[in-house]
């Protein structure tokens, strides 16, 4: 039980970003304490004081965590219980109470505190200027436009950095493996993935043989991907290039 409690503490710290020196949760906890002391409206105490406190208690309760994980069959989503705290609503309400009549200076101070204790969401490395209306990398769109069949579906082998995007643009493109291979903790195995991504240098004959078992009508490789022998020696043609990607077409497949 103590171990489960400590795990919950780690989840809480990770959620609140304490390890990255973010202290927005500090504002929230102070506001919660403040509301404990000053909120007199009974019904508001229920929503803004008692309920968040009980949820925090449940979050750290080992028995509750055991039941939650057993029911959901998933321990990775336990942090979502903290969504019930609704940090922003409770904090905003409490902070406005705290400001009282000093609204202007209070609001300025609160905004400064949020900036200092929080983290700017648009600084994320995962956010970049959109290259098109799909919000997908233009290279993925251009490659699919080049190889997409007029009818039916084809299987295409693409490098890891395109796996997320290709099928968001066209579901007529099928993949030998998908995103599941890129999440290490899911621990999947796929021989094609090993040959494509894990091998330092692509073993061309084995690679071509594996690709044809699906069969992959096209193989997309980065131009600097090292291969023991060129794919063109194994029945593939250099079909085209998009940016740093080279598109190989399997000429042994009649219908592609």
């Amino acid at each position: 039980m103590w171990g489960i409690f400590l795990e919950s503490v780690v989840i809480f710290k990770n959620y609140m970003g304490f390890h990255q020196n973010h202290f927005l949760a500090g504002i929230y906890l102070l506001v919660l304490l403040y509301l404990w002391l000053v909120e007199k409206d009974r019904r508001r105490r229920i929503l803004f004081v008692y309920a968040p406190t009980l949820i925090l208690f449940l979050f750290f309760c080992p028995l509750f965590r055991k039941v939650f994980v057993r029911l959901m069959e998933d321990s990775e989503t336990y942090y979502r219980l903290l969504w019930l705290l609704q940090m922003s609503i409770v904090s905003a309400y409490g902070l406005i109470r705290l400001m009282g009549k000093h609204r202007r200076i209070g609001l300025a101070a609160v905004c400064l505190a949020i900036v200092a204790c929080g983290d700017y969401v648009y600084d994320s490395e995962h956010i970049s200027r959109a290259q098109n209306a799909y919000h997908l990398p233009q290279a993925a769109v251009d490659i699919v436009d080049m190889i997409e069949p007029e009818e039916g579906r084809i299987t295409v082998l693409v490098p890891a950095d395109l796996i997320y995007y290709v099928r968001q643009y066209s579901t007529d493109i099928e993949l030998p493996y998908g995103r599941e291979m890129l999440i290490a903790r899911w621990d999947y195995y796929n021989a094609m993935y090993e040959a494509m991504e894990e091998a330092e240098v692509i073993d061309t004959p084995v690679f071509a043989e594996l690709a044809r078992t699906y069969p992959c009508a096209y193989v997309i490789l980065k131009e600097d991907r090292e291969m023991e022998e060129p794919l063109t020696d194994y029945g593939y043609s250099d079909y085209g290039r998009v940016g740093e990607y080279v598109i190989y077409k399997d000429m042994t497949l009649q219908d592609s």
Partner: protein, 367 residues
């Protein structure tokens, strides 16, 4: 032009008309446009759950087309009923021309700051792409439904056929996105990444506005402080700042809200759970005349519960926990044990959802 009209119809007019139904069952002075639109959205998602979940579970071929047909009939019927009720009974308050002069007041300037913050978030949502690995599942599910007319029968990650993954299949939010995409004739990925944020971010702030309105619109004495209307724009600014600077980790609902707005779980965290706060505030704010909560609020409560199931299976469990905790506190504080039964009855859709979930997930044990 046609897609724009279609988006306005399905994302504004239809939910507004549906929202007229619960609005009809609350006092006229409470019928604000915000209440109508928000309750319309939750009602629309509840209808989508009724149409889509049975189709996902028990229709094998063209299940998306079947669900779409049922949903279209249900929504148009409810929208028509809402208009009919409005014509017969109702008025909507809160339609006031924007007071331009008030822009020069302190509150006006604060509103201006809030709208700048909102506009900035909308600009970032439309002009910037936010990468999230889960899109390879959810967005592709929407696209498969749009292109192939099937729900959860094709593995989105690779394209192979698959058995039913009940946990994801019962959360049909991507199918609702697909439905909007089909009606507008726009690629589901564009709808997910551009249209949904432009619709859902303002909708979420509309909810925060309604919560703030309940908290601050009346001048009331509480704990020695006088709450005034001027506090509402301050509240909205703080809410916006919390969203923009709430990225203290990848797990917060604020991060989900602005980086993966189009996913059901983000909608659950940013819209559905706060909506429960909103509903509880209204349940607690019992009618002065007879001490009873208005029927429209109970309709809204049931809709929000059902909308949680549309967003995510875990959200159903989460709203049940929040409901149980707050209702327990209310029952103790008010010495009103009947409230447990009333709220329990409103949670029946969640119980049914979880029962179906458990049955489908473990039915293999019966074979």
């Amino acid at each position: 032009m046609l897609p724009v009209i279609s988006f306005i119809f399905w994302l504004l007019i239809i939910p507004f008309c549906i929202g007229l139904i619960p609005a009809n069952f609350i006092p006229a002075e409470k019928r604000s446009p915000g209440f109508v639109l928000l309750s319309g959205y939750f009602g629309m998602w509840a209808l989508f759950e009724i149409a889509a979940v049975p189709a996902v579970l028990w229709v094998e071929y063209n299940n998306f087309k079947a669900a779409s047909a049922v949903f279209t009939v249900l929504t148009l019927f409810c929208a028509a009923a809402g208009i009919l009720l409005l014509c017969r009974n109702g008025i909507i308050v809160g339609w006031k021309p924007f007071p331009v002069k008030s822009l020069l007041t302190e509150a006006g300037i604060m509103w201006l700051i809030f709208f700048l913050l909102l506009g900035f978030q909308l600009y970032r949502a439309a002009a910037f792409a936010s990468f999230d690995g889960d899109d390879a599942y959810y967005v592709v599910e929407s696209l498969i439904a749009q292109e192939a007319g099937v729900m959860y029968r094709i593995l989105p990650l690779t394209g192979g056929s698959t058995g039913l993954d009940v946990r994801h299949a019962m959360a049909v939010f991507p199918m609702w996105v697909a439905y909007i995409s089909v009606r507008a004739g726009v690629h589901a990925t564009i709808v997910s990444h551009v249209v949904m944020p432009l619709a859902l971010i303002p909708l979420t702030y509309l909810l925060y506005y309604e919560i703030g309105r309940l908290l601050f619109s009346k001048t009331r004495q509480a704990g020695g402080h006088v709450f005034q209307k001027q506090n509402l724009p301050s509240f909205m600014i703080i809410m916006a700042m919390f969203q923009i600077f709430g990225n203290v980790s990848i797990y917060t609902n604020e991060t989900f809200f602005l980086t993966r707005t189009w996913q059901g779980k983000a909608v659950a965290g940013a819209l559905v759970i706060p909506a429960l706060f909103w509903v509880f505030m209204q349940i607690y704010d019992k009618g002065v005349k007879n001490g009873r909560t208005d029927a429209g609020i109970w309709i809204l409560f049931v809709s929000v519960n059902m909308a949680a199931g549309v967003c995510s299976s875990i959200a159903v469990f989460l709203v049940c926990i929040l409901t149980a905790v707050t209702t327990f506190c209310l029952a103790v504080a008010e010495r009103d044990w009947k409230i447990l039964f009333k709220v329990g009855a409103a949670c029946i859709p969640n119980v049914v959802y979880m029962a179906v979930y458990v049955f489908m997930a473990y039915s293999y044990l019966l074979k």
